[in-house]
């Protein structure tokens, strides 16, 4: 079910992980991406697509979660994380138990709307800095390992 991997990313100290399986990750851009993940407000939001199979949620399949998030875990790390993730899932189990019969489902928790922008082009002035942070760039393209038909 969607979302489990997020908890893994958000709630725990991050082990070494790869942004793209095929990318080498020793560059500054990888650090930026890692930073982004930590700064993100994922956990605080309301997940409307959360599974609702009663109070007993399935135990986490940690190796699979790690794979979907492109995180490499050693066997001892899997063992270490499993109970911690289990704890978080159990907490969601408690939330599931709340009686919401009379409550209208919310699409978004923080809906204000009308937060649109006009369709007016503006060129970002510091493009060089962005390009400089790309791990592997060969003018004018971002260079990546050969892509096989795999998603």
């Amino acid at each position: 079910m969607g979302g489990r991997a997020l908890i893994l990313v958000k709630g725990l100290p991050l082990p070494k992980h790869h942004i793209f399986t095929d990318f080498s990750c020793n560059s500054s851009s990888a650090k930026l991406l890692r930073l982004r993940r930590n700064n993100n407000s994922w956990g605080r939001r309301n997940f409307s697509t959360w599974a609702t199979n009663g109070s007993s949620l399935e135990p986490p399949d940690v190796p699979r979660l790690a794979e979907t998030a492109r995180i490499s875990l050693a066997p001892h790390e899997v063992e270490e994380f499993a109970p911690k993730i289990r704890q978080v899932i159990d907490w969601f189990g408690q939330l599931q138990a709340v009686d919401l019969q009379s409550v209208e489902p919310a699409i978004r928790a923080d809906t204000q709307g009308d937060n649109f922008r006009d369709d007016v082009p503006e060129t970002f002035e510091n493009r060089e800095a962005i390009i400089a942070a790309v791990p592997n760039y060969e003018e004018p393209y971002v260079k990546v390992p050969k892509i096989l038909n795999k998603e």
Partner: protein, 549 residues
Amino acid sequence: MASTVFRSLQSFPFCLHPTTLFRRKNGIFYCTIKGKHSQTATQEKQTSNVKVSSHPAIKTLDKILKDYEAIIGIETHVQLSTLTKAFCNCPYNYGSPPNTSVCPVCMGLPGALPVLNSKVIDSAIKVGLALNCKLSLNSKFDRKQYFYPDLPKGYQISQFDIPIATGGFIDLDLPVEFGGGHRRFGITRVHMEEDAGKLLHSDSGSYSQVDLNRAGVPLLEIVSEPDMRNGIEAAEYAAELQRLVRYLGVGNGNMQEGSLRCDVNISIRPIGQSQFGTKVEIKNLNSFSSVSRAIDFEISRQVQLHSQGQGDQIVQETRLWEEGAQKTVTMRKKEGLADYRYFPEPDLPGVILTDEYVKDIHNSLPELPEIKRRRYEKMGLSMQDVLFLANDINVAKYFDATIAKGADVKLAANWIMGDIAAYMKNEKLTIDEIKLTPQELAELIASIKAGTISGKIGKEILFELLAKGGTVKGIIEEKDLVQIIDPAEIEKMVDKVLLDNPKQLEQYRGGKTKLQGYFAGQVMKASKGKANPGLLNKILLEKLNAKSS
């Protein structure tokens, strides 16, 4: 060369005419894309078609195909022609130097927050309404997670469980060449999302290249109900969507540039069976004719497997259409459903629409293709004319403007579809680029109808106006082209021609009456093409026959 499967496709029975394949090459889809097929290619097709239909094995397959039904659904991605990307101010222009239109938002850099372009909402509502959908006044964006090098953020901002529009339909008319007929296909949903970058494969094949200009460009994904039954219906569905986005002005619908992309799902089942067969997806369809041919090929392939007891070889997979080989090939087998781990996009607020906002957009919608076609039909035009004129919004506008100036409907249609279309094709111009205005076309038609100029002179004036502009009245005056309708004047010219051609006159009177055409030509020439042809012939005949008795 072609396998049995491919060859059998050429006499595919779902098509209404045996010449389907041949015809299709001639741009039957009324699509506005430029036809790339040369005459030679057409000839080749025709020859092989004829050869193949007499093949005994093919007849058997034709028979088998009749026992099956194909179920076809299409997912279409329409790129919106906004000036900026969906969630950042980066300008988007097709063909810009790679990686020049990027910023922290579309590159997924930390701290950058997306803000929705209002034009994306406008366009989505327009398309939703035009497709007769129910709009969600309260929807949201979701993250679809997957890892791919053309997706800098590691997720695509899309809409998952609450798309902006659902449950609509689209009406279209099949081309007369395919037997015609009206069709209504269901629309499951329309949702907003962002495009990924473009992945290029280097020639050496040792690495790939990414251009992120397209990353973050707004798309509408339009999902059809599985209502199509053959390649023609599917191609016409795609062509109608193209027409719709062009009429609405929300996208250019250009398939070659990838502004309109179709992924097709196909399954077959024996007629009478309610359970669906295994669904196969086809990608890489970049023209209407490839949509049509790929589908017909795939139906044929699946039916053959099924009828030979090899139905288990039809697996859930994505296949690519190979234009060169004219066949579909395995791209990847699906190993269960991909887990995209959707969840609501935390960086964007919900999308809330008011009834008033929707109503305003509804009131601003142009006349849509289906409505236009029905209106043209009511004006008495043939379906062939209707489809031609309504195909391209600019042609339709031109036609509408011409008849608004009082031009005869059928004559206006004939001029536009005949000489004007031919001129545009020769000169590679669009109707907006020709110098003849609708006003002058109406004037020209009226002048011919009133007898001021002959039809022949009318044509000459037309070509002059097309190339140089100006007015009908101006050219008539300048070149002294007013038709001669004075019988006395014509009589004088006839007399002179008869006098100048005594030998031919003698032959005519001796029984060689075919020479009438020769005399008529001489008189017309003498009048510089201005003599009224009816009068000319009447007077000429009288004179020719009068003195012979």
